[in-house]
């Protein structure tokens, strides 16, 4: 089967039906990415829909290069248009180290808790984690999507993981208890 770039070139040349194949390959990852930066499923759905609408509309502007980075960059722009107040730049301040790692590992975890922790960190941190974790993007790939330097992405990822660890440790183990102490 053709790679993404070849398919997109053919879409660009008028074979619009092939966009369906690109959709099948990427819409799940794109949805999770949009969830990460948009914060809820409704926004994520709109974001995915809008991203593919823009791909269709601006298909002739595709100039080769990695399709996936291009698509996620489009989705990012769409999300920023949908959520003009959502900051996608990382916080200025350094993240506190928070509780020690041993304390974190000793406290046990569940997926809901981790999901909530992910929801508490800055969207710019969620963004790099999700791109690296779910899309297996390198720092160079992520840099193309978020419009930052490669090195800055690595620093952001480090801070993001620290923020996630801290948010996780601050959450009570019970998902229903509501004993969430403070924002990461």
């Amino acid at each position: 089967m053709a790679n993404d770039e070849t398919l997109m070139e053919r879409v660009s040349a008028g074979e619009l039906g092939l966009l369906g194949e690109l959709f099948e390959r990427h819409h799940r990852g794109l949805f999770k990415y949009c969830m990460a930066i948009g914060g809820n499923a409704g926004i994520a759905e709109d974001c995915v829909q809008e991203a593919f609408r823009r791909v269709l509309q601006y298909r002739r502007s595709y100039r080769g290069g990695q399709f996936r980075s291009w698509l996620f960059r489009i989705a990012r722009n769409a999300a920023m248009d949908l959520l003009p107040d959502q900051p996608l730049e990382p916080p200025d301040e350094e993240v506190d180290t928070g509780p020690g790692p041993e304390q974190l590992l000793a406290s046990g975890q569940d997926r809901d808790r981790l999901r909530r922790a992910l929801g508490r960190i800055a969207p710019a941190y969620r963004e790099v984690i999700v791109l690296a974790r779910y899309q297996e993007m390198t720092s160079k790939d992520i840099a193309r999507v978020v419009g930052a330097e490669d090195g800055a992405v690595r620093v952001r990822m480090h801070r993001a993981m620290k923020a996630l660890a801290r948010a996780w440790s601050e959450l009570d183990e019970s998902p229903e208890s509501g004993h969430e102490r403070k924002r990461a």
Partner: protein, 213 residues
Amino acid sequence: MKENVPEVGAPRKEHLPAEFREGLDGAEARVFDTLWDDLDEVLPEPPSGRLRRGLRRMILAERLRAWGSGLSMAGMATALVVGLVLGRLLFVPVPPPTPDTPVPDLRLETQLLSGATTAARLGAIVNLREAQSLPGPAAAALAGLVANPDSSAGIQIAALEALLAHARQPEVQGLVIELLDRPQGNPMVEALLREARAPETDGRDEAAGGTRT
């Protein structure tokens, strides 16, 4: 998370990609690795069926736009007919039959499909579309109109819509499948055929939280 913590002395598999491990001490790397692994499946799956249908509609709309932008004056006239026919077929509500409503003679309507004027053929197509069921000869005649390259785009689309209105009938399904197997040369007809072929839902919407309004 606990099950991901390696036993003392066990070889440690690297989880967080190497390029993101620079500067981490051992304990921090261990925490990050554990969180990294547990992030699997934390985020929900998308409503794929609904998104897929949305994409199909976008592609159809884009095809129509592209098709319309390439039309000559004669094509524009055809497009006007198409618009009128589609408007009649798709958007004008048909009143329910009353005891006084004349029942169309479907044999006569079928004959009219090969009538001399476009108006007569369109009228017959609309009547067949609204009929309770579609007789075999009428279905075959409609399929013939769709497949005939000499049919106007308006007639092709109206005939296809009439067929699709009776798509629950097995013989009509067979005809539609036959049409699907050969290119029609009309992007609107092909798009409608693909729409007809596409499954209505893949069941994943429900898994993702039901229909969103």
